[in-house]
Each structure stands twice: as C-alpha cells, then as structure tokens.
Symmetry: C2
C-alpha cells in the first residue's frame, strides 16, 4: 500500500510517499481503509524533531476517516464498509492522569493515518457523523477533541461567557470558535492576519482584533469585553499568556493547551487577586470524543482549509509550518 | 480608647498607640470589645505603602477576638458579653467575583481590630469556637480563612493527597499544614529556616526541606513524593511557582494566594501536558469562614507565635517583616 513516510528528521520536506506492507488488524483491532487524513501541528513538530520521544521511521497522521476494511479477532463490528472516523488518543484512563507519553497518540510511534490502510483499537473507531463528507470527518479527530475538552470539559463554557480565542485560524482554535458560537457565547478572536479575521467573522466571531496592527491588542480585547473575557482559550503561551491573565475578568477560566511561543512571564497577582482558574489540557478522553461527535451529528460542520493530494504531503505540512491555513489541512488518500 | 494608628507610610516603625474616639455601632453593626488582635502580612504591606488603595490615617488590624460590647439598631444578638471572633472579609458576593477592592477587608480603609473597640457588620461576628483562648481565636480570621479556601474550597484536598506547603512558618501556611494533617494527607514543607522546619515537623509535617541548603529543593520534593505533589499551596510566586509547576504530578492542583517574590517565569508545557489546575485564591467567603470555625470547634488549635503588648505594635510588625514568626503574631489589647 502507499503511505506517507518520515525516515529522518529535517522538516516537512522529509515527508514522502513510499510503498509499504499493508498492516493486518490484531485481536481487538480494526483495519480502516483511509479515505481522508488531516494534519495537526504535532505532525509538523515530529518532522522537525520537536516532539517528545520521536521514533523513526514512521507513517505520521493522527486524523483519519474512511471505511471499515476488516475486523480483528474478537471484534463484533461495525460491519465492513461502515463509514468511520478514528479517535487517535490510544490510551486514556478516565478520571486518571492525562497523556504522559507520546506513544499514546496514533501517528508516532504507532503508524498513523497517512496511508491507504490504518489499524486502530476497535474502541477508537466511531461511526462518522451523518451528513459529514470524508474531508469533514477527517478534519475532526485531534483538533475537534482537543478543542472540545478545552472549551467544554475544562473551560465549562456557557452561553453567558465572553470567550477570547487567541490566534484563530489553527485547527484547534477554529473548532473553539465553532463551539463558542454553537452554545451562543460571545467570541472575541485575534490573529496576525486580516484574511483569517475575516474568515473568523464569517464563522460568527463577534469581535476580531489583529495583534500585528494593534500593539495593545489585549487592551482592545478588554475594551470589547465589558471588563475582560470570562473564558480564554490559548495555545500561544509566552507573552500572550501573560497578557491573557492580565485582562481576564475575575473568576475567569484561562485554558491552555499549548505554548508555541515558549515560556511565559506571569504576575501571580493576576491569578490570586482575581481568583483565576488557569487550566491545562491536552487531547481528550473517550467521553470527550463521543460528545464531540454528537455536536457534529447535530449539524455542526468543521472548517476544511484545503485538500492536498497524497503526493503533496510535504507541501501540506509546509502550509501548517507557516500557519497559512484557516481550519484543517486535509490529505486525500483514496 | 487606645488604638494602634498609622498616620503615614514608612514601615512598621510608623505604628504607634494613640487615644482616639470610641466608635459606635451603626444599624446592623456590632461593637466588639477587642481582647486580642493578630497581624497579617497585609498590615505590614500597608505600613510600607505596598497595598492597593491605601487611605490614611487608619487603625490597622484584620484579626480580632473579644466580647460583644453593644448591638446596633436592628441587631438581635449575640448577647452583650458573648465571646466572639470577627470575619474581616467585609463584602463577598457568594458565587460571584472575589474581592476586587482593598476596601472590603477590615483594617484599612475601615478602622480595624488594633484598638480597644472595633465595629463590624453583625453578619461578620461569629461565636468563638469552644475551648479556644482569646489568643487562639484572634489567630484565626484572615489566615485561617485564606488557608481554608486555598486548601479545601479551591484545593479540594483529600486524605490521599501529597501536599507541598512552600515557605511554612507564615500565618497562612501554618494553617495549611494544620488542615493537611487534620484530613490525613501527607505534607511536605519547605522553609529557609531549620528551626521552622523542626516546628513544622512537630505539627506533623512528614517531610521538611530547607531550600537554602538544598539548591535543588524542588527535586528533593519530587523525590519525596512518589512522582510529585498532587496539591501545592504557594504564596511565594517568582522562581518558586515555576518550580512548583515543574514538579507537580499530572492532574495536580497548584493553588496560589500570593506572590511575595514577584513575577514568575513558567513553562506552559508543564501546565497543559500534565493537565494542571493553577488556581488563584484570595481571602474567602462567609461559608468558608463558618466551615473554618467548625474545624476549630472540633478540636483543632491554631499556632500562636508570640503575644506582644499593645505598646510593642511596631516590634510585632518588624517580626512579621523579617519573617521571624512561626504561626500567628498576636497583639494583646485587653
């Protein structure tokens, strides 16, 4: 079968298509014929060597949708041919510790979805929400899950919230914006790109602020939010996280699932004086995944940025690397 | 009546005793004949001008215990002569925003407990827990309340927790240690003073680490806690808070109620990868205060450091300034 492979560290350009043996489902596993896969920042970090516990060579890819091709021993269903989407969070102890090893995510070290066929534990294989295309279904897994846990399980969003979504455009933050508007909350988004801000407004963002053209963007956010956001979802870290704490309304929740700009200098005073909850989150639980799919079963649609052919796997990753996308970057497998 | 007064900023030495008019209880208020008062770091910060919204002259003091001297109009009880302790948190909207103005704490700008008589809203006056001396009762209010909310309401402590109490010795942290051992949790304490560590051990601390003699004290904490503390209570901020996040066990709660050493540089990775809860807290609610008193009604005893005469009000504050105390510094009024 064809698979996108990464044999050595060196950035997106090291991704290429090879012929590799087709995997077989072991006991308790399902073989999925992948129709569409999608990229996460994680896939790009791995090509750069910027992820814990990298083991090569590997077939990357955490997100995938397709049809059931074969059932391993002891697996009762779903039937061959059923349209499915894969939860890439391979190990999760409900109520216990969150992920603590990179091995628990499909797509490194376990071979992932950027291939004609992919094997996953039966418990990780879910029916595709009715009405979604394969492109849309492939867009859901890791970003939709991370955003779900950040926004609902950790962020405890309600319709009364004023939510700040920093750096809208990336896969996860676009889902956060979708969820905010789905529950009826007010959403303030930031980006360094006017084009992305326009797209966010089209998705329902109430206020859109360009942090490149407004030096005091955080004060603009405070001004637009009647005393500061009540919920902030951020994956930027660095200077941005410090500013988020500064403008958060008393008792706000500040959810962080990443730190792309590195260490943050923060004022403890902002946290204790305003009784903030600063809540870390990473991926999500099986319950989160099932609840996330329900939202899309009920009619929500994810944002697909662009669909790349399998041979364009490196170019697709480059698009992620340069943060050019708005929504999910999809890879057409079949 | 006699009162400790602060007429100008300039440090503890500016505290002195004056004769001032005795206050009268207004409608809904109670006049308390103060027997004992106690110091908080807040009182010292105010003498230094290091607190928001300072208004002088003032009678400082948030902590006080004594007897009911007179009831204002519309107040039904408790009867004159009843032993009482005052909740210094003057305004609190249950379930709403936490304190946001210094005016909500007794002892600046509202005249406080460092005087023969003190006026407080009737709802803030509670019966002294049975069996406590006036010294002990005066030791409870602000520190016992802050520690209660940090440990129970925000920290959600259980007997299964391994708790790190940084900088034990200050008023609040000594209460945190008391509460930890009361619920049966394992307590690891740090201090720069071997003498304080010995006293903490006498109170039940399971592990005591001197951060002055052990450069990698946080690694010692991790080594002594089977993978890191599950609950951390800190008011140090700065470098200490960053290290706390680094050693916290996955899913741990890190509660912060102060930042005495200033800004903190933190790794967002520690927060999101381990799904930490970093929880700010400041003072506490009326429910917290009532629940805190229950613990002492049930037999717990606070730690009194030393009792100073009223004329020694400046020396008592100096002791706080130099962090020489272990437990509460008490001022004998009557």
């Amino acid at each position: 079968m064809r698979a996108v492979r990464l044999n050595e560290i060196g950035g997106p350009e090291k991704l290429h298509v090879e012929d590799v043996p087709q995997p077989e489902p072991g006991p308790g596993e399902i073989l999925v014929r992948v129709a569409r896969a999608a990229y996460n920042r994680r896939d790009v970090y791995i090509t750069q060597g910027l992820y814990p516990g990298i083991a090569l060579p590997v077939t990357p890819g955490s997100d995938g949708a397709g049809v059931v091709a074969a059932l391993g021993a002891g697996v009762a269903g779903p039937a061959v041919g059923t349209r499915v989407v894969i939860n890439p969070q391979l190990r999760w102890v409900e109520g216990g510790a969150p992920v603590s090893a990179s091995s628990s995510i499909l797509g490194m070290p376990v071979d992932g979805t950027f291939a004609d066929y992919c094997v996953a534990p039966a418990a990780n294989v879910y029916r595709t929400p009715t009405g979604l295309t394969d492109d849309e279904a492939a867009a859901l897994p890791l970003a939709g899950l991370t955003a779900y846990r950040a926004t609902f399980t950790r962020g405890r969003i309600s319709k009364d919230d004023v939510v700040l979504v920093t750096g809208v455009g990336g896969g996860v933050q676009t889902f956060v914006l979708l969820y905010c508007k789905h529950v009826g909350a007010r959403a303030i988004v930031t980006s360094g790109s006017d084009e992305k801000l326009e797209r966010a407004k089209a998705l329902g963002a109430d206020v859109a602020i360009n942090y490149r053209t407004s030096a005091a963007w955080h004060k603009d956010v405070r001004g637009a939010s009647d005393g500061g956001p009540t919920l902030i979802v951020d994956s930027t870290g660095g200077d941005t996280l410090g500013k988020c704490l500064e403008i958060a309304r008393p008792c706000a929740r500040v959810v962080t699932y990443g730190g792309t700009t590195g260490d943050a200098t923060i004022r403890p005073f902002s946290i204790f004086w305003k009784s903030l909850d600063v809540l870390g989150t990473s991926m999500g639980s099986p319950s989160d995944f099932a609840a996330m799919l329900e939202l899309f079963e009920a009619g929500l649609r994810p944002v697909v940025d662009r669909v790349f052919a399998m041979d364009e796997c490196a170019a697709a990753a480059e698009r992620m690397l340069h943060s050019e996308q708005f929504g999910k970057v999809v890879l057409a497998i079949a």
